[in-house]
């Protein structure tokens, strides 16, 4: 059990500056409707006819649904085999283009900075830049956040980071 846990991706395995690409997530009309009825029942997310007349000119997913679908992509692509400890915040999200039914989403994530918490040497923080695209490589959404990930060898990692706060 301990061996299995240590085999997962840890803080030490995250390479700063190396883009990691993953996906795919097919977006369906049914799922757009279901999410929107629960969490964002605006006409352009729940009614195809009304959506045509709206500012976005056609049915599209709620921006919060886009975030949720990105989360699933990120989980399947990066977190499922990582010793993740969650994330406390999202610094910024930009909804650049509508996510439409029929899109197949994929994502690219780059760690731009990482450090070990001085107060908790077993916990590393990775600052990430994420981009979500459709099958035609159109950039639909960007996200910046930091997440916590377990450190495999706390004493060695702390020395390397220089004991950053």
């Amino acid at each position: 059990m301990a061996t299995d846990a240590r085999a997962k991706r840890h803080y030490e395995d995250i390479v700063v500056g190396a883009p990691y690409e993953y996906g795919a997530y097919p977006v369906t009309k049914e799922e757009i409707f279901a999410f929107a009825h629960a969490y964002d029942p605006q006409p352009h997310h729940i009614d195809e006819e009304a959506a045509k007349l709206s500012l976005v000119k056609g049915l599209c997913a709620s921006g919060w649904h886009s975030c949720a679908m990105f989360m699933r992509l990120f989980y399947d692509g990066m977190l499922a085999d990582a010793a993740s400890m969650g994330g406390p915040a999202i610094d910024q999200v930009k909804w650049l283009k509508p996510v439409r039914p029929g899109h197949v989403l994929k994502a690219r994530s780059t760690c731009v900075e990482k450090r070990v918490m001085r107060s908790r040497p077993g916990v590393g923080i990775c600052k990430m830049q994420h981009e979500m695209f459709n099958q035609d490589d159109e950039l639909l959404m960007t996200m910046e956040n930091a997440f916590f990930i377990a450190v495999r060898n706390p004493s060695a990692a702390a020395r390397e980071t220089g004991g950053a706060a």
Binding site: Q42, A68, M71, I90, Q92
Partner: protein, 163 residues
Amino acid sequence: MSTYFEDLELGRVTELGSFAFTAKNIKEFAAKYDPQPFHMDEEAAKSSIFGALCASGWQTASVYTGLNIRARQKREAEARARGEEIARWGPSPGFKDLKWPKPVFAGDTVTYRQTIAELTNFKNRPERGLLVTRGEGFNQHGQLVYEVSVSILVPRRVPLGAS
């Protein structure tokens, strides 16, 4: 009321209501969008940094949006009933400074509110202003568990500079 940019008052607070997070709705959301063990399984959650089953942060955020949109639609329906013209809000370019300061556990009830935080005019976009709303959610102990600043474009009744 409050459908055009000119009608918005900086600092005005709207109470949006509450939502009860249960093990069932936490696991349902997580199974679709965020199946990390601490959102899916009580036993696994016990040994995680959170100590107990807790909601995906995206569920906490999505519930806020649902309450916010329904509150806005209620205001619009009331205005429509009074025969007022309804402005079409949007689109939303995104959000910033989203924080989940504490976990939302199964059994917690979160009460949300919204404050008008920023109102910005654009010289090059005289027909719309940018509204930034500050959303907050508090658990039943009064602890802040969610905050976010969401941007949305709101039409002006009279374009900026027009008389």
